[in-house]
Amino acid sequence: MKVIINISLKNGVLDPEGQAIKNSLLNLGFKDFNNIRIGKQIILDIDKINKSEVLEEANNMCETILANTVIENYKIDILEGK
């Protein structure tokens, strides 16, 4: 099953990259936006049939290595049938 994991910085964690991009957007004339945050996406196939097993495996991966839970949140999306 295809799994998409989105990892983002927690609220309150300094995001200088996001701030730099915000400044560039403002310089380019984009004004109608707020709350810019940088994150990363990890896409993988997990070789299990059962959705709950896939979720459990992905969760385990995030807790063990993929996310640093001190500063990051993660969200797991499973694309069924792919």
Binding site: V13, L14, P16, E17, A20, I65, N68, I71
Partner: protein, 230 residues
């Protein structure tokens, strides 16, 4: 005094650290490749700086899941001492051997410059107990992710338990920002609960000869080693 230096793909301060340790102990440290699972009895393991695994995923994240880390954990549980410098500090945090996190420098710049460190009032530790509280050492930093971050409660806890080894201090008359990365409470290095694991962003191995612009790194390392032996 038996010392070792770990080496990961992308470590680049290992040789400087080996030279520094040899200069102090008179013996060449053992090199520990990241795939090794068994290490001999050692007094001190140093995790040097660099860009282990290309800083992929997060700095130190992949190195912290290498086979050698298990041996380092065993070494620590036997009361062994560990020093992590720069990327080594990032690895210790990723391996959850030290708390908090090291995030991108506040100004988004790779910072390479001299910093002044002030020794804090710590719990008994071979790395700090040889210095009077308030002693300053001039040791350079060189990093992109050295901004120490943790929850307010954790920082308070570290302060309360005497686990902050040193903080950045203003260099005389220099009005530039003295904290090179924006770390909370100007933290430059922290200790484990038993005081025998130290993670620090500055590079002591880079100031061990006068021609390098200073010898405070040598002073720091040799005092630490004296206290490990003593």
């Amino acid at each position: 005094m038996r010392t070792a230096v770990t080496i990961f793909p992308g470590s680049n301060c290992d040789r400087d650290m080996i030279i520094a340790l040899k200069k102090i102990t008179g013996k060449t440290p053992i090199k520990l490749w990241h795939k090794e699972t068994e290490v001999p009895n050692l007094d001190l393991i140093v995790i040097p700086g660099g860009f282990s695994f290309g800083d992929y995923l997060r700095c130190g994240a992949l190195a912290a899941r290498s086979p050698i880390i298990k041996s380092i954990k065993n070494h620590i549980s036997r009361g062994g001492a560990v020093l992590g410098v720069c990327n080594g500090f990032q690895i210790l945090i990723e391996a959850k051997l030290l708390p908090g996190s090291l995030i991108k420098n506040k100004k988004l710049l790779f910072t390479c410059k001299k910093t002044l460190l002030e020794i804090q009032n710590t719990l008994p530790s071979p790395f700090c107990s040889g210095f009077k509280v308030g002693t300053t050492l001039e040791i350079p930093v060189a990093h992109n992710e050295g901004n120490f971050f943790a929850s307010k409660e954790m920082v308070e806890k570290l302060e309360g338990e005497g686990r902050i080894a040193f903080k950045y201090k203003q260099i005389k008359n220099n009005k530039n920002s003295f904290n090179p990365n924006g770390s909370l409470n100007d933290i430059a290095g922290i200790l484990s609960k038993n005081g025998r694991v130290l993670g620090m962003m500055p590079h002591p191995e880079r100031v061990i000869n006068k021609f390098q612009g200073g010898i405070d790194g040598l002073k720091f390392l040799s005092t630490s080693i004296e206290h490990l032996v003593g």
